[in-house]
Every structure is written in structure tokens, then in C-alpha cells.
Homo-oligomer: 259 residues x 6
């Protein structure tokens, strides 16, 4: 039973694909296949919310395409978990957000955690996600290291160094036992550094890409085994269930060309 | 000092504009002007989240246009408060969501409230907004009356009757003192019925359109008086502050034509 | 349609009336009238809770008088929101507390806020109000600048300087985007300084007097338009509805002479 | 070591004193003395919040008098816990509120509880106290039996019957393990019925008068043993610590005559 | 890479092993091996908390044994998640509790959930776990079907029927989108019924055994890949890190014989 | 009416008994008797959770023995409140945990508190108890002084000095009005120092042993007066009520010899 996972970099550029492939492939379980792709015809930076919103439109297309290509699960590769909940309305394969998945795995790594993200624009947004996901009791702080992804890709080692320092300080300051790196590119930079440097990994610093992969693998299993389908009674009910013709018209009129 | 308010019906059709104009105009204060408009080139129904997301892209265009046309404040006319927070990143005029505004006025109407919305798809979404807005302590229930707006417009009196019944029952069942009608078209239907029937209004049943208007008027005042500007330090920092060229490019490439 | 607002300084002295009048008048919208008055025959300082309780008895008289004089709304001018909820039981005009009103406007100014109040006695009391108003999710801190109002009035510029410094530090320390000055006299001092100094106002520092005024204006509008009446089903049910004779006797026996 | 406890009926009438004395005396521990008194020169009914506020002024006088008479602790006999927190600012003896005390003892009687109070006016007020005392996690419901104390005293057996029925139904409906009778006169009526009828007491139905007494006794012990003094650093700091002259003047001008 | 999972039935009897093996084996992914075992020399029923506590002592032995036998992860097979957190202090393989794991997977199945457990003794205990795990925002109710496991094993079809009925009613009553069967034997009974009856599975009814398995598989993967180790800084720090000799003595004196 | 209280040191050694007796006896009320005992045949240190779990088995035996010896209430002398909730299932006398009791008394000492405990292992555990007891709103911080009880007993004055310093700093840093010493041996060390040194006690620093004693005394009173019995409907229902034979068998097989 082979499981095929699509990791969608929401950034509208292939610039980050190799970094993700390089740092995530070692964590594939045997029998899993990973394809890393990116959105197209949309902004390259997701930091600001208007950009994020436009990118999410492209994410929906990629998720729909992933399903039609036969992938068993899709990951949207950014810790804003961009478009994840809406995408679940659109497809029957599991759609995984790295931040949410990591929060779900975090209790296996320690009593509580801090969240260390990229920059000041993400801090209040992640605070909202913490609240929305019901994680206030486990998340003891949200802070940032002041990097944007377009700079990170040029110097991943400095990103890793800053992230480690910030994570360790935040854990100490807040008495937390783990740290989630709340940005997929910070996480990949950290992962690359661990693998290149030969330094011992701080196992309390959590890389969301890995947890998104593990969650996607296990949900894909469940789907193949007939034990997964998201409830279609409300929050995730698709328009086609309510009015198939309206949905068809909508797609006809508004589906973006993602090529 | 005249205040100009733009009420943007997010539904991509002029179908609801008259109903809103008719039922909201009586609440304009002297010196205020109201323009009711709608989005274009986007879905007509906002109920499902993919549709909502596409509509929000059009909402951003309408909000930007409202600012450039010289309006002093904009209301996005739907209780999903669609695109409201993102729109605040884009313009300097206040952007008001009817649900949020009504929750802010609710304490003047009673100790706590129930929320009565249109259909099953909105219930969990509004529960998320209740949580995100920090209203768990004041909102004692969210329920729905099973109507879609495209049906409502054909029989506003029946909508009003169902809404009153549901609101009164929910207040009784949960021991709440007020009821927010969590849908702008339900609210307008209720308002029309009150005005046509000559029946006494139940002042504990709250019409979000009115509160959105009042909040918009007062924020527009503040703006004119030099006492309003949203903080640009993080959550509402615009891309143009961080990288003006990137924002210009983005608009160049992605601004939808809303005519 | 003229709106008449009564701002009641709860301090039993006219000492603060001019400062409020001076700093609030610029924010009146056209068509509004403001009268600033004070309680009489009660303590001059509200800091300690026994004093506050006695002052509140006088506040009730002033609110009742404001209604009988034809005011359309009343503001109780202190961030303890003293007597506000009880006063709503007594009159049909809207009664506005500056702290509550400012918390309602705060989301238009930033993602979250800190509260900076006068002295150590107010800090735990405001924490209680934060909890009671359901604001725990938006308010990231409560701190004080160690001033009492009887000293403030003698040196409003120093108060302003201390408040600005404390507000900016608290926003930075807690990663908050706005600061509410949780004392009406601090706020007025800050306002006066802004106007006198010609310095640019920090628009993220919120003056509760202004928001109380805006809220009062809009509620007064609604009242004139037939769209305001507080629910009389429970929390705000008046004694006269339950037992008019008992209420009449009570007033006969206990109404304080406020002249 | 004799402990002297003053139970202050806040109702401005001696009408309820015998009922309290009769039903509370059996729970005095050996060596304790109980005096039941009432406020004077204030309203007789505390249900409405304006009345409550006036009564609280009289409560402060009674609490001050209790301390000067040498009592070791005071109980304010109403489940609004009227004036309790303010009174703690005024005296050095412990001041106990029946509702708060019962919530503190409740975990020894079951996993969680419901609150059954007198009438609709008390329900939202007690909900506020639940929130303020931090009891949301333990209190599963607040409801009422629609009785006013002035009627209760005429037919205590009917009150007891209604209270038992309501408490048992609420425990069943909400899956709670105990019920607090949130009114001192309901509780006393229930207690009288238990003692007169010879019926077996339902030990999951909690009488706040008893818990107030037990808490008062134990705090009085601590005080005699040198292990009790409320922190005077903020919330309970008295005015006389900040400005003794101002306090003396205040008492000179505003102390009510309670004879 | 083969993954070996030990499922420990905490009940001190082999009576439930076959049911678990039969209903869980179909969900093993290829390359996983499952061993179902039970504790010995301890109570057979875990319902009452004293029994549970004694059983947990035996669970610790089984978890230690599982690690020494080379298993890659251990599941403690009961929705009390008995001994799970303590066991994590003792071993380096992941220890999974079915309830916690299911709550982590639940967001992929719907917006929120109800919890349906076996009997009245489990209801308040699961409420505590809901609070402790920070799930108050997602869990809308806890109820029970009044069955004990020793009866369930004799009539698994009736258990399944009762569980389905209760789950569907609770979802409807509370407006929840999924239901967690909060008992491993109810869940296995439900699973057996689904497989025997050929009826279509209600995919919104969640079987914790499956989610515990999936979580255990993915954590075992991570462990093999060098990406798993629970933080040893505090909550999960083992005694042997603080004082190896004391731990050795403790095991010498108190290790139970589990044969 | 004499009240007999058993204080059970959970540590399996008599080493701490004298310190507790010496520092608690002064707070006995007249007519109370105190017996301090310890568990036997179990670990001496409770810090790590496996040790704690084994100790709790011994605690159950001591609590059962206390009841059979005629004690009116039992205190389990450690701020983990070890085994307290399970023990309540087993006996009909009240079982008191020092941490829970102190949280119940804390509102009489100040508006809120910090918790200062022994070492890093206790901090996250006490955070869980804070959450479980519903104390998040009152407890502003949990920190530790890095002492283990086996060292404390050798130098109680240094423990007292460190505890006072840490408590005062934590109160200052967090703006809290009281500090609970979250460890019975820290508390006893502090108490001894107060009594030996003749220094003035800081009455805002709370010693849990004293509050456990006061709570136990008052519950013992209630029990003697026929007004105490824990609800046996669920959380605290004993196995013997459900199946007496099973309970008898269990005790036959698993009761530890505590001599």
C-alpha cells in the first residue's frame, strides 16, 4: 500500500521546493512518496494578509489538482495553515496544516510549548490560531525572530542559529518544555543545519514540516482503510452537496488556471 | 461635517441593495449619507466558504474603491464579517463588520445574548468568530433558522416570522436577555416587517445592520476629528509599509476589475 | 436632531469639570451638546472602594437628574465605570462607562491592548472588570503609573509624560498594539498635552473620554430613532416594574439631595 | 478560646433574624457564639441592584460596628455577598460572603455543582459572581425558583419543597453532583423543613449559611492565632493607610447612623 | 523498517484481547506489527478510581516490559488514558492514550465533537481530562450509555447499537459534527458490528483504538528516524536522571512481578 | 465535642513528622487533636511521578486506617495533594489536600496569588492542578526554589530564607497580593523560622499545612453535626456501592500491609 503525499508550497515560486524536499525526504516512512510543488500565478510572499488571501485562492486549485492527480493527502506548507479549512470543504483527501498538526503532536514532546515564528506580522495571526484551535492552555508564548522567507533562503544557517537561540530563550523564560518553530522555512533551515552541521538536534525544538508529513501519512492510511471521511454535516459541507449546479457554475467561472 | 458611509453587499448581485437601503436609511443620523453597493464579478451566495473566499477578493476591491471615492467608512454587509480584518490592512478608513459591531453594542441591550443565524453552514463559523472575538462569556448559544438568502429575498415576511420565533425561543431556553440576528438579510427582513406591520418592535432583537451603521458613523467622526487610525505595528500593518514596490506589483498583477 | 449628552464627573467636586470640557469638546460631532457636571455631597476621591461606593449613591442621583433634565445619554466619567450597571436599572436613557466603551472600540485600533491606569488600588479592580466584561482575550496586561487624581490636576503635563512612557513600554513588553489609558483624568491630561504641545498624537494610545462620548452619541441616536431600549427581563429590570409602590417609597426615603 | 461571630442580615428589618438563628445555631461548634442582627435605616428587600447598593452602605456600618463590639468575624447574610469585598477594606476581622464560602466548600461535596437561586433578577448577577470568583469550571448552571424573600418568610415549607425539586432537577439535567441554594432565606427554609419534617437531608443540597459559619469560625481561629490578616498591598488596602485624615473626614461626613 | 506496537489492555485479564486484535488488525499499515497483551496480577475492572490506580501500577510494568522487548511504541488501551503520563516518565518509547490521540485527530473529522463514554463514573473523570488536555473549546458534551465492560464483552452488538444511538442523539442535541466513543471496548464493539453487519460505517463516530494505533505508528516512525524524544526538562524528567541510585533501589523494592 | 485529625505524611519515613507536629500544633483550635503519621513500605521521596504513584497506594491504606481508628478527618501532607481524590472514593471521613484547601482560603488573604513550590518537577504538575481546580483566574504564576525535601530537613532556615525571597519577588513581578508556598516542608520550614527567629510573619505568605488543618477541622465539625457527606452519585461513588463483593475481593487481594 503506497501512500502519495503532496506538499504544496503556497509561495507562488519554486524557490523553496528543494529546501523542503531535501529536509523532509529523510522522514518519509517506507512506502510513502512525497511530491513538493508550489502554487503559481499568485504572490510569492505570504506574510501580509492580502497576499495570503490571494495565495489561498491558488492553494485551493493546487489542492483540487492534488486530489485529481491521485494524491492521498495534501499538506499546505506554511504555518499560517493558509486555506486549509476552506480546502477541506473542496476535496475528500485530508488536508493538513503544519501548525495544527504540530500542536497535535506537541504533547508527546513536553508538557507545554512556546511558538517562535518569523516576524511581527505573524505573531498576532498565530495568537488568533492558538485561540481558534483551542490551544491557549498549552501554548505559553508567541514570539518572532524578525526574518522574512525571501531572506531566509539566502542564508539558512543564520536562520537556524537565530531560531535555536530564540527557541531556547523562550522556553527558559516561560518555563515551557518544547518550542514549535512556527514557520515552515525556518523549520527547514533548522533541519538543514542539523543535517549539515552534524550537531546534535535539540529534540524539544519541533519542525512542523515533519509533523505535517506524519499526520498526512496516517490520515492517508485511514482513508485507504475506509476509516476517514470528514463530517459533511456543516462546517465542512461542500457546496456541491447543497447545490451541485451552483458549484459547477462557480468552478466554470472562477477556477484559476494554475499552469 | 457630512459623513459618507459605504455599505457593501458582498453578494455579487444588486438583488439585496434595495432591501438594505430601505431598512437602513431610517437610522442614518442627520448629516450622514449612505450608499449601498454590491460586489461584482464574484459569486452571488456567500454561504459556503470557498464562495466566501472568492467574494472576499471582490470585497477588497470594493473597500479600496470606497476609500478612493472619498467615503469615510465602509461596512461589509454580511455577518460572516467577510474580509473585514484583511480589508483593514488595505485602507485607512474604518472597515466595519456587522457581527463584531453588534457584539460591541450588545451590553447596552442586556446582560448576555444568543446568536440566531441563517443555516447550518453558518453556525460553526459563527462559533469560531465568537471565540476569536473573545465573546464566549457573553454569547450563550448559536442556532439557525434554516434559510438561505436567495430564498429570503422572495419572502421577507416569513423570514421575519421565523426569526422572531427562533430568537424568542432561544432567549427563553438559554436565559439570555437579547438576541442578535446573525445575518444581514434576516435582519433587514425583520426590519421591513416591523416597519410594514406596524407591530411593536421587540427591542431585545438586535439588527446588525443598524449597529454597523452606528459604529461606522462614530468611527468616521473620529477619523475626521483626527482621533482614528488603526495601529500599523503588526496585525494591521500594510505591505506597502514593508515593501511599497512589492505592493504596487501585487496590485498591478492581481487587482480584480470590479466593473 | 440635537443630541444632549451629560458627562458626570463622579468626584464630588467641580475641580475636574473644566479639564474634561476643554479636552472633550473638540470631539463633539455637529449637532451634539455636552454638559459636564459633577456629583455633590459625596467624597471627592474615588480611589478606595468605600469612597467609590458612597460616590456611586450620588452618581445614581445625577443620572436620574440627567434623564429628568432631558439628556439623551449619560456618561459616568471614571474608568471604574462606577455605578454604571446599577444606574441602567434606574433610567431609560443609555448610561455609558468609559472603560467599557473603550474596550468596545479597541478592536478598530489594533489586535489587542494593554491597560494603563492610575495607581495600585485600581489595578486589581480593573482586572476584575476585564474578567467581568469578558475581555481576557484582548487585554494583555494591566499596570499603573502611581498618580492620584488630586495630584494630577496640579501637573497634567507630567501625568501625560508618565502615561505615554508607561503605555509605550507596556505595548512593547507585551507585544500589544494599543494602550487604553484606564483613568479619565490621565486621559484628559494626555489630551490637553497633545493639544498644547502640538506634538503628534500616538493614535494607538486610547483616551476613554472620547470613546464614551462617541458611544453615548450613537446610543442617543438609536434612542431617538426608536431602536434603543435595554432589556428589562432580568439584569436591568427596574424595581418599579416589579413593585412600583416599593420603588416610590424607596425614593421617598433614600433619595439623596444632590444640591 | 471563645469565637464570636456576627451574622448580619442585610435586609433592613429584624424579620428574618429568628429564622437564621433557629437554623444556624445547631451548627455552631462548641466554643462559638453567634449573634444574628440586621441592618437598619435601609431598604428591606435586596433583590434590585439599587436597593442592594443602598443596603450595602448600611452593611458597612454593621460590619464596622461588629468589629468595634469585639466580634471575631462577620458574615453578610445574603448570597449576593453584598458589600463583602468593600467591607474587607474597612475592617481587620474576616468578612465572609455565603456564596463565596459555599463555592469554596463545594469540592468536598461533589465534582461540580449547580446554583439554584430565588428569582430572575438574581440569575445574571450570580452568573457574574461565578465568573468573578473564577468558578466557571465548577458551576454547571444557574437557575431560579421564582420566590422573593418577603413571601418566603410566610411559607418556608413551600420554599423548601420548591427548592428541593428544582435542585434535584437541575443536578439531573446538567449531570452535576451537588446543588448550592443561592439564597440565604431559601437555605434557611430548607434547613427548617429538614429539622421539622424529620425527613432525611439530601446532603448534596448545600446551605450557604452553614458554610459561611464554618468559614467564619476557622478564619476567626486563624486571627486569634496570629495567622490571619488580609493583604493590604492593593485590592484591600484601606484609605486610612493612604491618607488617615481623609478617611477620618469621610467617616465624619458620611457614616450613617445605624440605630 | 518494521514498526512494532504493543497494545496493553489495562484490565488484568486476557478476556478483551481477542476483541481488540480482531478489530484493530485491519487498521495496521503495511510494515506494522501489533501485539495485544494485558496486565496481570491486578484488578480486572478499571471503572472505579481505586481500582484504576492499582491497575496503573501494573500498566507501568507492562510499558517497561514493552520497551525492553523492543516495541517501538505502547498504547494503554482504555479511554481513561490510565497511567499514560506517568509511564512517559519511565520509558523512552512513545506511550499513547486512546482518548488523547483521538482528540488530536478529531479536527480532521469535524468542527467539534461530543464524547460518549460507558457509565456515570467515567463522565466526571473524562470532564477532568477534557479540561486538562485543553479541549473545552472543541468538546461540546460528555455523556454515557450505562454499560460496564464486563457486560459489554457478552453482547457487543447491543453495545454497538446503544453507542450509535447515543452518539447520534448527542451530536444532534449539541450541534456537534463528530462523536468520540470514549471507551475502548465500546469502540471495539462498534467496530466489530460494522465489520459483521456490513452496514455502512458512520464516519463521524470515532473509534479511539484506531487513532491510538495511528498515533503510535507515526511516533514510532519518528523515533526510528531520530526525530522523537520527549523533553526531559521537567514534567517528563525521569528519577534516574536526578538520582540513578534512588531509582534502582525503587525498582528493586517495588517493581511488581507481572507474570 | 473533640475533633481528631490525622495528618498523613506521604513520604514513607518518620523523618518529617516532628517538623510538622512542631509547626502545626500551635494552630490547633481548642478541642482538636492532631496525630501526625507517615506511610510505610513505600518510597521516601514523592517528587517524581512514578514514586508519587506508588506512595499514593500507601496513602490509601493510611486514609482507610485513619477512618477505622476513629479520626474525624484526614490530611494528606503534600502539595501534590497526592491520592486525595481517589481516597475520597474509599472513606466517609473528609480527606483534605493542602494545596486545594489553601486555594480555597486564599481569597481571604488577597485578590490573587502566586504559587512557589520546591523544584522543576513540581511546576508543571501544579500548573495542571491549577487548571483542574479551576484556579487559572486567581493564580498568576507558578515557580520554584530548587530544593528537594530530603535536603530541606537538614537546613530548614535556608529553605525559609529562599522561600521568603522567592515569594516576595514573585508577588512583586506578577502584581499578586499573596503567595502560596506549594510544598508542605517548605511551609513547615518557614513556620519554624517564624517561630524561632521572632521575626514578624509576612501574613501574605500562606502555609498550606495550616489551611489544611482549618479545613479539616471545619469539615470534621460538619460531619459530627450531620451536615457532611460527599456525593456518591458519580465522581466519588465507591466500588462497594456498585459491587460490594468485588470491592471485598479487591481489598483481600491488594490491600498493602502498612506496618
Amino acid at each position: 500500500m503506497t501512500i502519495k503525499i503532496k506538499f504544496i508550497n503556497p509561495f507562488g515560486t519554486p524557490l523553496y521546493n528543494d529546501l523542503i524536499t531535501e529536509t523532509l525526504t529523510p522522514y518519509l516512512r517506507s512506502g510513502s512518496e512525497l511530491a513538493v510543488a508550489n502554487t503559481t500565478n499568485c504572490p510569492e510572499n505570504i506574510d501580509y494578509y492580502y497576499s495570503k488571501h490571494l495565495i489561498e485562492v491558488a492553494v485551493f486549485e493546487e489542492v483540487i489538482k492534488a486530489e485529481s492527480e491521485g494524491f492521498d493527502a495534501a499538506i499546505v506548507g506554511c504555518c499560517y495553515d493558509p486555506g486549509v479549512r476552506v480546502a477541506r470543504e473542496l476535496v475528500d483527501i485530508p488536508v493538513v496544516g503544519p501548525l495544527e498538526a504540530t500542536m497535535q503532536y506537541a504533547p508527546y514532546y513536553g508538557h507545554d510549548y512556546v511558538l517562535v515564528t518569523d516576524h511581527h506580522k505573524a505573531v498576532p495571526y498565530l495568537r488568533d490560531l492558538v485561540r481558534l484551535y483551542g490551544q491557549d492552555v498549552n501554548c505559553r508564548d508567541v514570539s518572532s525572530i524578525n526574518w522574512f522567507v525571501s531572506d531566509m533562503i539566502k542564508d539558512t544557517d543564520s536562520v537556524a542559529a537565530d531560531a535555536i537561540k530564540a527557541a531556547e530563550r523562550a522556553m527558559l523564560d516561560r518555563g515551557a518544555e518544547a518550542a514549535i518553530l512556527g514557520c515552515t522555512i525556518i523549520s527547514a533551515s533548522y533541519e538543514r543545519w542539523v543535517r549539515h552541521s552534524g550537531e546534535k538536534r535539540n529534540l524539544a525544538i519541533l519542525n512542523p514540516n515533519i509533523f505535517a508529513l506524519k499526520m498526512a501519512e496516517s490520515l492517508a492510511d485511514l482513508k485507504k482503510q475506509g476509516a476517514y471521511q470528514i463530517s459533511r454535516s456543516g462546517y465542512y459541507q461542500p457546496l456541491q452537496q447543497h447545490n451541485p449546479r451552483e458549484y459547477a457554475d462557480l468552478r466554470e467561472r472562477f477556477a484559476r488556471k494554475s499552469a
